[in-house]
């Protein structure tokens, strides 16, 4: 969320008059938009980091491997394995950037990028490979031949080459594990077979988050895979994490307005040393070490910066963290009507009584009616069809789910349901529910219906 600057020149002038030292430099509004641009690029993964501190060894390994493919024509296969957000793609991008700085490599290396989520079967993958290798001009104006012909075609193309004279081809298979689910693993077998035989030099780089990916490979395919695995498992400590946060937020030296940058950087240093900020970051760190979620958090902070509010304050990160950690389901409960909320509470009590056994509409309705009788207030006295409607609405919101197997045949009133909410979520929602009637609140909080 970009904060617009309605009276930019005016405001910046106001601020400039406040900070007289900055009078010579650019207007503050411009500085802030520059800052946001710079940091957003970083946080949205548009810019490849200049170097990856955490994975020096892996970087070296992969770079050496690809260099040998590009320069010596040595075929290789390697898997980069790490949990989501551990920087697999960043590592590869980094390596490729460094690799392509060599002129020799730039002229030789052909790249093919595939993604298991896009190339969902071998036929599509083959077409994509052919396209990316620019072989389709050989194929001709006909769209493409059959799958079998494509395969033969591609294999022939690769077979024609030899180690020293053919341009090396880099195959990057993102979501590698999904390729292992293709029929017979034909594509993997052939790519890995090429990498293990005296054909065109290829480097097959697979990226996956599954640690058990090798078990997915068929034995022949597995035998052809070189078993090189680059694991990206972060061993980051909290202090390193903090340093990362600081460096992620600090402006580079080549920022146009130097003074502003220095100012900003020192404020960020102070920000990171703040105790409350540290607490919030600690909580994030405990939850997950990956940088994607951190970037999400920082992004939320960053978008709160405006000319009025030119630095990140601890309150900003607190708010951002609250947004990040808020519970999705209890947020949904806020939007329910009182009747629906009552039904949810009735279900909660049923769950407590029957220890998570499924319930049906009649049971819920009975429970609700009991509550009404006890309170003897007629405010919530609804007809059964109305209650039924509310019940169905809850089902549409997937707050309750029908039990598997007890579907169509049974009447709606007697269809068995499970509550897809935890009692803590319900209680949290009750606390936050705007103007929740006290009796309902009490009913919800009480241990027994």
């Amino acid at each position: 969320m970009d904060v617009p600057y309605p009276a930019k020149s005016f405001q910046s002038r106001v601020i400039m008059s406040k900070r007289k030292a900055k009078g010579a430099s650019k207007p503050i509004g411009e500085c802030i938009s520059q800052l946001q641009k710079c940091l957003r690029e970083r946080l949205c993964h548009n810019r490849i980091p200049s170097q990856l501190e955490a994975s020096e060894a892996q970087h070296k390994h992969l770079l050496g491997l690809l260099q040998r493919t590009a320069n010596n024509g040595e075929s290789n296969s390697v898997l980069i394995i790490g949990p989501r957000g551990s920087g697999k793609t960043a590592l590869l991008k980094c390596v490729l950037r460094d690799l392509l700085q060599e002129k020799e490599v730039q002229k030789n290396l052909l790249q093919v990028h595939l993604n298991g989520l896009l190339q969902t079967d071998d036929r599509i993958a083959l077409k994509e490979i052919t396209r990316q290798l620019n072989l389709e001009n050989v194929v001709g104006d006909k769209v493409f031949g059959s799958f079998a012909e494509n395969l033969v075609f591609l294999l022939e193309a690769l077979k024609k080459g030899d180690r020293s004279t053919t341009r090396p081809v880099l195959f990057v298979l993102d979501e590698f594990d999904l390729f292992a689910h293709h029929k017979n693993q034909t594509l993997l077998y052939n790519l890995l077979d090429v990498s293990q035989s005296a054909q065109a030099p290829v480097a097959v780089v697979g990226l996956t988050c599954r640690l058990d990916v090798l078990e997915l490979l068929e034995k022949r395919v597995k035998s052809r895979f070189s078993h090189r695995q680059i694991h990206l498992l972060s061993t980051l400590s909290f202090t390193q994490y903090l340093e990362q946060v600081a460096s992620q937020l600090s402006l580079p030296d080549d920022f146009p307005d130097r003074e502003f940058a220095l100012d900003w950087n020192s404020s960020m240093r102070r920000f990171c040393e703040d105790k409350s900020v540290e607490g919030i970051l600690q909580r994030h760190f405990n939850s997950s070490k990956d940088f994607c979620s951190l970037h999400m958090l920082l992004m939320l902070c960053l978008s709160r910066i405006s000319t009025v509010n030119p630095t990140i304050k601890p309150a900003d990160i607190l708010e951002a963290s609250r947004l990040c950690f808020s519970d999705a389901k209890s947020n949904m409960l806020h939007g329910l009507s009182i009747l629906e909320l009552c039904l949810v509470i009735a279900m909660k009590h049923l769950n407590d009584v029957y220890e998570g056994e499924p319930f049906n509409f009649q049971m819920v309705h009975n429970e609700f009616k009991k509550f009404l009788q006890r309170k003897s207030s007629s405010v919530y006295n609804f007809e059964q069809p109305v209650v039924m409607k509310a019940f169905e609405h809850l089902q549409q919101l997937e707050l309750i789910r029908p039990v598997d197997g007890s579907s169509a045949k049974t009447q709606r009133e007697y269809q068995l349901m499970n509550l897809a909410l935890d009692s803590s979520q319900i209680i949290e929602a009750l606390h936050k529910y705007p103007q929740c009637p006290t009796d309902i609140k009490q009913w919800g909080m009480s241990a027994f219906g």
């Binding site: 072989l135 033969v152 081809v169 034909t186 052939n190 054909q199 061993t235 808020s326």
Partner: protein, 878 residues
């Protein structure tokens, strides 16, 4: 459309048997009488005579000398032992330059190569021919005398040598055809050489009786099936058709005689075969003739009815026929030639419309050059069609063949391009000779269909989609015309040459790469020997057989077979064994088991066809006897993937070798030892036979030896390190690939650690250990260790919940309660459901946990993918 008419010949022994061979139980005879049914004329063949034997190419039947004639006891089988001669056209084109001059059209070579079956069926003998031996320096006699063939040199598949006259001595005028009297039968026209005979028959008015006889005899052709691989059952129905055509051909024959009195067909053919004789009159005659041809074709294309104006086009098949058959010795060129030749033909066709007489010269040039040489195109001509232009220009680019632009004609012409080629094929077959088996199959399928499926590749390139769409055999046509194999696809070659290894570690690494072909295959000597002798005996005996090879991955199965084939090739080159044809298919490299047929056929003949069609063609090929067929060695890798429900692919693969004439050796490779018992039904397993071989996983000594032999005295490893690698791998899998990969990784590690010191270093134990750890250690424990606090807590909650339940499965809700409790114990802030769910999903993505679909939310069930002990171990050591 058009059937080939064949004359039925009757073969009889003349006189009493000369002697009886007790051992072989056969009678030897002195001479054989060949008479054509319904004609008075007889040909008598004696031992020592030279004869024509029907082969794949009916314009140029095989030439041989009879050495022995014999029949079996019952008189059922008539056989002849022959000494072969080869024509210049049968010599592989790549070898022709060895001759040092242009071959004379009537020149034949005394064949001294091996790999040809010297025993032929006597019923494949066509008629006698005269062969004269010439001295080396002697010039060829006047070529106008076409009855005789001349021998100067011998050909042993490698070199041309002077013929030892002793070889041919028994009857120096090698053969004197005993044709009793001139006859109108095409099979025994005495005045025509084999090359010209048929054309003459067409060019001259043929008496009606002959035609009728031919037609009448057509239905007898089946009786000759054993002798003619090219025949096929579908032709009978068409004999009536061809009868009409023949009479039509007579009319045209007369006409053509008037048009070109000097039998242009003959001339042209000779012209095309003997480039040194180029004379303008011929060309004129040719173009005239072609014009005429074109007219008739247009007619034919327009109305498919068998009306008299539909004519035969002897000229059309002239060029290709001669080229189509090559000596079996050169298998590579076989696939290339037909396509090239048909391109030639096309260009002739194109040009004759515009009366470009240059065509002849361009054609002759092409013919005389090697098969890879592009067809010399006529002068550039603007095309009326864009697509035609596009296609042609692409061909030009890809094949790098054409110097000049080759264009196609307008739509109508495109359409017709197919027609002549079909007719060429069919018209060529309505003689009494046989053509190649594959073609005859397709002839049956009718013209249009043939256009799509049969016409070789480069011809298809020239064709447009439009024509193909019209073909009734849609699938085949579509497949073939859309084939991406227009050119030869290649990854572009590199602009900067590859670096070469500089230091010893790099050298070692290159040598240790699995792809580098080792000088020898150590540790598989016994298996090598077994396979070698198996294949060798089959090749020498000319029989077929199957062998099943099993073994876990990386035990050198495919490598051993390739090594065997390499050695056998060497042996064949040294003339120790007959030459053979090696084909390899891999179950993993095809999308569907039935593609196996397509791939085999393509590698065997260069044809493209649909799976069903390919299966029938192969069936034909391996069933019908053909003289001079060479053994085919077929390697089927990853056999288990060829499994289909009916198992017909496997059945066929194992059934063909059992056919009498197939000469097919099938080597199959798969991983499981008991594959035949497990997945094959009985009739398949039975045909596979019991010749099995199992490759045991390598032991540590063998692995060590493999590495040592690969390194070949490059000292890069410490001995202990090698031993460690090989012991480790032998204990794990015995996979040589693994072993080599570890060694390679170890050299890298060594290189990295040695960067600071430039001194030479050996790969030591620590490097190997590191490499082993990298490759084999499970990453689960590290992953748990490096997980975030909440993730670790969640894992502990899962274990706690499992312990509480006594089950290995819990719902998220249950685990969540445990998690909350643990949070309180650890003094962490309580954490929302969404957050814990996200933690749980992350663990599920790495497969530390196995989860149900995330839609179930808190209701999803959780299981561990890693043992509880491992988790506790990982968490404890923190």
């Amino acid at each position: 459309m058009k059937a080939r008419l064949r004359v039925r010949r009757v073969y009889k022994w003349q006189g009493e048997p000369l002697r009886f061979d007790r051992k072989l139980k056969n009678f030897e005879y002195g001479s054989l009488i060949i008479s054509v049914e319904g004609l008075p004329r007889r040909n008598i063949i004696n031992t020592g005579h030279c004869i024509l034997i029907e082969g794949e190419d009916e314009d140029n039947p095989y030439v041989a000398k009879v050495i022995k004639l014999f029949g079996d006891e019952g008189g059922m089988q008539k056989k002849a032992i022959v000494q072969w001669f080869v024509r210049a056209s049968e010599v592989p084109v790549s070898k022709l330059p060895l001759l040092g001059r242009k071959p004379h059209p009537q020149e034949i070579f005394y064949y001294q190569g091996r790999g040809c079956n010297e025993e032929v069926n006597a019923e494949s003998i066509l008629r006698p021919v005269q062969v004269k031996q010439l001295d080396g320096p002697a010039a060829f006699p006047d070529s106008s005398d076409k009855d005789t063939l001349y021998v100067k040199l011998s050909w042993d598949t490698k070199t041309f040598k002077m013929v030892d006259s002793a070889l041919l001595s028994p009857s120096t005028p090698l053969c004197c055809p005993k044709a009793c009297h001139p006859n109108s039968s095409p099979s025994s026209l005495p005045s025509g050489t084999p090359a010209s005979r048929r054309v003459k028959q067409r060019a001259l008015p043929t008496p009606d009786p002959a035609v009728i006889q031919q037609a009448a005899s057509a239905d007898h052709r089946h009786t000759e099936a054993t002798t003619s691989p090219g025949k096929d059952g579908g032709l009978n129905a068409e004999s009536l058709d061809s009868k009409i055509k023949l009479s039509a051909s007579k009319c045209l024959g007369t006409k053509r005689k008037n048009a070109s009195a000097r039998t242009p067909g003959v001339r042209k053919r000779l012209e095309l075969h003997s480039p040194e004789k180029k004379s303008l009159p011929f060309k004129d005659a040719l173009s005239q003739l072609l014009d005429e041809e074109f007219e008739s074709e247009v007619e034919l294309a327009q109305k498919l009815s068998t009306s008299p104006p539909q004519l035969l086009h002897p000229t059309y098949n002239l060029t290709p026929r001669g080229k189509m058959h090559t000596t079996p010795a050169n298998s590579d060129s076989i696939s290339l030639k037909p396509s090239l030749v048909i391109m030639n033909k096309l260009s002739v066709y194109d040009m004759d419309i515009e009366s470009q007489t240059r065509a002849v010269s361009s054609l002759t040039e092409v013919d005389s050059e090697s098969s890879l040489v592009p067809l010399a195109a006529p002068k550039p001509r603007t095309s009326k069609r864009k697509s035609a232009q596009l296609v042609s220009s692409r061909i030009k680019k890809q094949l790098n063949l054409l110097d000049e632009q080759q264009n196609l004609d307008s739509d109508t012409e495109d359409e017709q391009e197919f027609v002549p080629s079909n007719k060429a094929l069919s018209s060529s077959s309505d003689d009494d000779e046989m053509i190649h088996g594959d073609e005859s199959v397709q002839v049956k399928k009718g013209r249009r269909c043939t256009a799509g499926t049969l016409v070789p590749r480069s011809k298809k390139n020239l064709s447009t989609t439009r024509t193909c769409r019209k073909t009734p055999n849609k699938k085949g046509a579509a497949n073939t015309s859309h084939t991406p194999r227009l050119g030869t696809p290649t990854i572009p070659s590199r602009l900067i040459p590859a670096r070469h290894p500089v230091n010893i570690l790099e050298v070692a690494r290159t040598r240790l790469h699995v792809s580098s072909v080792p000088e020898s295959l150590p540790c598989r000597e016994q298996e090598f020997q077994d396979i070698y002798s198996f294949v060798e005996t089959k090749i020498i005996d000319g029989t077929g057989g199957c062998m099943y090879i099993s073994g876990v991955p990386g035990t050198g199965k495919t490598a051993t077979v390739h090594e065997v084939i390499r050695c056998l090739r060497n042996a064949a080159n040294m003339n120790e064994i007959p030459s053979f044809h090696f084909i390899e298919i891999n179950g993993m490299k095809m999308t569907d088991p039935h593609q196996a047929y397509v791939q085999i056929l393509e590698k065997l003949t260069g044809q493209k066809a649909t799976a069903d069609h390919a299966a029938s063609l192969l069936e034909k090929r391996f069933t019908n006897p053909a003289p001079r067929i060479e053994t085919t060695v077929l390697l089927v890798d990853e056999l288990d993937l060829l499994w289909t429900r009916k198992q017909n692919v496997m059945y066929n693969l194992f059934d063909w070798p059992t056919r009498r004439h197939s000469r097919l050796v099938v080597l199959t490779i798969a991983n499981t030892m008991d594959l035949p018992e497990r997945i094959m039904i009985n009739r398949v397993a039975s045909r596979l036979g019991l010749t099995r071989m199992s490759f045991q996983p390598y032991g540590f000594k063998q692995l060590q030896q493999i590495i040592m032999s690969r390194l070949n005295k490059v000292k890069a490893f410490e001995d202990d390190a090698l031993q460690l690698v090989s012991r480790k791998v032998a204990a794990l899998s015995g996979d040589a690939r693994r072993c080599l990969d570890i060694c390679r990784r170890a050299t890298e590690l060594c290189e990295h650690s040695a960067t600071n010191t430039s001194t030479r270093r050996l790969v030591g134990m620590n490097h190997v250990m590191d490499a082993l750890n990298e490759m084999f250690s499970s990453s689960f424990i590290t992953a748990v260790k490096s997980a975030s606090v909440q993730e670790q807590l969640f894992l502990r909650a899962v274990i706690a919940e499992f312990r509480r339940l006594g089950l290995e499965e819990a719902t998220f809700q249950q685990v969540f309660i445990q998690h909350q409790a643990l949070c309180r114990v650890e003094g962490l802030q309580s954490i929302s459901v969404s957050e814990v769910l996200a933690v749980c999903q992350r663990l599920g993505a790495c497969r530390l946990l196995l989860l149900e679909t995330s839609r179930l939310g808190v209701l999803q069930r959780i299981r561990l993918n890693i043992s509880q002990d491992d988790i506790l171990y990982a968490l404890k050591s923190d």
